[in-house]
Symmetry: C2
Subunit: 496 residues, 2 copies
């Protein structure tokens, strides 16, 4: 796999000096067109061996192109705010928006490789992380991102030569650290891991480009030309939606009209007296539980979905009034902002992932993709179809980070909804809660019901199950929500 990157590629100065001005001009123009079109982001990963010229390449790109539209990120040691969240959070927070280029020195491959070489991870665990990386890249490309992965390679003797050269020169001595030499001693070990990583993750949508790193002229021209061609090509056929290619067949409605929502007994009730005592009881338990020291190691993400007027807000407030206002946060999901629209769909949720010891409540959530966006046609069928597995991947990352994910669907009957709509239009301080849109959605009741059932079938996983809440009786719903939330948090704290 590295053979052709050990042939001693070289470009003489004359050729280089002749080629660069043209290349630079073309790159700048491509970059300007990209910035103007704002149709997709470019994500460039620079990996490879120490001394193979990763940093120089990035500096050169910044010099050749317009740095105003390049963001370079050296992914060194994570900060505590980053360690407090799933590993991928630090990449999500640095993703370039549409129209810009993000260059990552170090990537989601860095730690898996190191962990494997140092033996902290076994082969199976490495494969797992590679699978995750592939799914991430697949999702990003489906979202329209152009991903370019460069691997700077050096043969063993060439690496030794490079490191020595850098050390001899006082201007570049700082670049060579003991760590570099320690890694060099393990060259063969690294090489094996590198090879398998590149083999496993050179996908159609995001292939690796292996570049021999010894000769700066060759290295720079190669990287520059690959980037230029990729951006150009992508700008030309930008209208072809990659995602569409992978569009799976849409789900069928149940042929016998029986679905999971229909099996719910929506009319379960709790009388006022029992509600009062239960409410006090479970709010008290939740209050004490979330004040235990152990809770500082827990993160909770609770999401509330449901029919319009199902009582999400009321249920949320019964939960929050048991919590310390300093440690919870409610994220209402409304229309995305301009900055959010310039990012992959899940970005606007990643930005709200809480630190340890916190509770974040999403009032509506990423499931909007497979509910309102599906039914209203705000996104293509291909987009919401792939969303199921993207969401499962997303939640798997949260759970892997010991985040407790609790998902509630508050279900009411069509009649109950009508009753509540009418009530709301009467009661003053609830009037704002009922809009034209609510009435419109109501007319699509069956489509929504189908979407909800598909959602539950495809995203109720053992690690992040859905809790269907029978909500015709608000008291019953609120108590069930409190009980369920308490149960999930308590279980997680016992595991700690």
């Amino acid at each position: 796999m590295f053979e052709s990157a050990e042939l001693g590629h070289k470009i003489d100065k004359a050729t280089y000096d002749m080629e660069v001005p043209k290349l630079r001009e073309a790159l700048l123009e491509a970059q300007m067109d990209l910035a103007k079109s704002r149709t997709f982001p470019v994500i460039i990963l620079i990996g490879g061996l120490d001394g193979a010229g990763r940093g120089e390449t990035v500096n050169l790109l910044n010099e050749w192109m317009d740095p105003r539209f390049i963001q370079t990120h050296g992914m060194g040691e994570p900060s505590d705010e980053e360690l407090d969240r799933p590993m991928m959070w630090r990449f999500w927070r640095e993703l370039p928006p549409k129209g810009k280029i993000g260059v990552f020195l170090g990537s989601w491959y860095t730690w898996p490789i190191l962990n494997r070489v140092t033996g902290r991870a076994n082969a199976a665990e490495l494969d797992q992380s590679l699978e995750r990386a592939k799914r991430l890249e697949r999702m990003l490309t489906d979202e329209g991102a152009l991903i370019l992965k460069f691997w700077m390679h050096l043969s063993k003797d060439k690496q030794e030569k490079r490191l020595k050269l850098l050390e001899e020169n006082p201007k570049t001595r700082w670049r060579v650290t003991n760590r570099d030499w320690k890694h060099f001693k393990q060259y063969d070990k690294f090489r094996v891991v590198h090879e398998s990583v590149i083999r496993h993750t050179s996908t159609a949508e995001a292939p690796w480009t292996i570049v021999e790193g010894y000769d700066p002229n060759y290295r720079s021209l190669t990287v520059g030309k690959v980037i230029l061609e990729a951006i150009r090509k992508r700008l030309d056929d930008v209208d072809i939606k990659t995602a569409a290619i992978h569009a799976p067949p849409p789900p069928l409605p149940p042929i016998d009209q029986l679905d999971i929502l229909k099996t719910l007994d929506l009319n379960q009730k709790i009388d006022k007296k029992k509600y009062k005592t239960d409410l006090e009881k479970y709010q008290g338990k939740l209050a004490l539980l979330t004040r235990e020291n152990k809770f500082k190691d827990i993160t909770v993400i609770a999401i509330f979905e449901g029919n319009d007027a199902a009582g999400k807000g009321g249920a949320i407030r019964r939960v929050t009034s048991a919590l310390d206002a300093r440690w919870y946060n409610i994220i209402p999901i409304a229309a995305p902002t301009e900055e959010e629209l310039a990012q992959p769909y899940l970005w606007r949720f990643w930005r709200h992932i809480p630190r340890r010891g916190r509770i974040t409540i999403f009032d509506r959530s990423w499931y909007g993709r497979v509910l309102v966006e599906r039914v209203e046609g705000f996104c293509s069928k291909a987009d919401w179809m792939r969303a199921y597995s993207e969401i499962n991947d997303f939640e798997a990352q949260l759970v892997r980070h010991n985040i407790v994910v609790v998902k509630f669907w508050l279900a009411i009957s069509k009649d109950e909804q009508l009753k509540r709509f009418n009530e709301r239009e009467k009661i003053g301080f609830k009037r704002f809660k009922i809009t034209e849109e609510d009435w419109r959605n109501r007319n699509k009741w069956d489509e929504y019901e189908l979407a909800v059932c598909d959602m539950v079938d495809r995203t109720s996983t053992e690690i992040a199950p859905w809790t269907l809440v029978e909500a015709n009786d608000k008291n019953f719903a609120r108590i069930k929500v409190l009980k369920t939330l308490y149960k999930h948090i308590e279980e997680a704290m016992q595991k700690e």
Copy 2:
């Protein structure tokens, strides 16, 4: 000052139950109007004594109002990313956008008070921090924010009673910590400091409301009504621009036509040979300097302003190619995004303040306020006039945090600019650099010159001086930039 908050205010249950529904309805409607109008943010600070019901109040507000438009922030111990930046950064990152309400439990007053009581700060230092807090609030209100500051007070015996009551109840025991009792023992000491803080910071634009915290009914109704009235009033006269009131007289152009830019010898040159050796020399020095271990404790913010075509980009690239791409970041300042427009002017710069050991280069900066925005009339005169002191405050915070702030103005002559505009329109890969707008700005040359001189006069401070760079000769300019930057960083590292 606390007298009337120790009278034993009380509201009986009957009155409370009668008042709340009306208040709640009115609050919700005010909140909805605020959200619809999106004209200003509401910043609510909740301070006061332990056990005086700060948390309960916030919970209640979340219950009364629509939590979708309230963000509650418990400002506990800062994270390492927060400690790495000026103290105010953690508040800036949580500021509510226009149309929303941000509730802060703990504020920019919390630490100054604690430091004073514990003796970590003397009276003078306390006054300093209070002055800063006042200037911050003045700026926020000038930017349109509505600031409501509540102080929950308790008499000494009432606090003791409250803490004991909370402790006796198993449901609330968690709320009382040893810290609370430790603070209670220092009640008198705290009271003195609290009093002077409230006295010094009850300003016309952001006065304190002192609330007796013992009786929940009284406390809740008071806070609710103050918030309601303030938002209502503000919604009604929202068109009256607070800032306008404070509009100072505009600066006069120099009556003898002599200004600081005219005193520059723009034609200073360096010949090609000397340039090559100097460039290598200072890039090398800069490269080594920024790789020293000491540099990890330094933060550098370099901003580049200058005439169009003055060579900012070229100078920046000569700097960055001496730096490790992983540790610098270039922030090009273009038109603000929707999220940025919903925030105070300086917010979009605060969000890019780097961590320690990093270099952030602003290609154009917050000075746009007193340059392009002033000349083009993008903001009111009052806005850009107050910007001078706001910017000085901002930079003072950076410097106080040991951030090296280096400010470059690249100056070229009107003829030189014309020459470069024409060149750019010829050379292909520079074509994108010249736009209609550049020609338009050129026609306002004198207005810009006046704005630049005012800027330098008002914002070239000993802690963050302007460096005027004679830039008709690009080589001369680039070397001067490198030398200056090196000098400033070296000085800062010696201080460390």
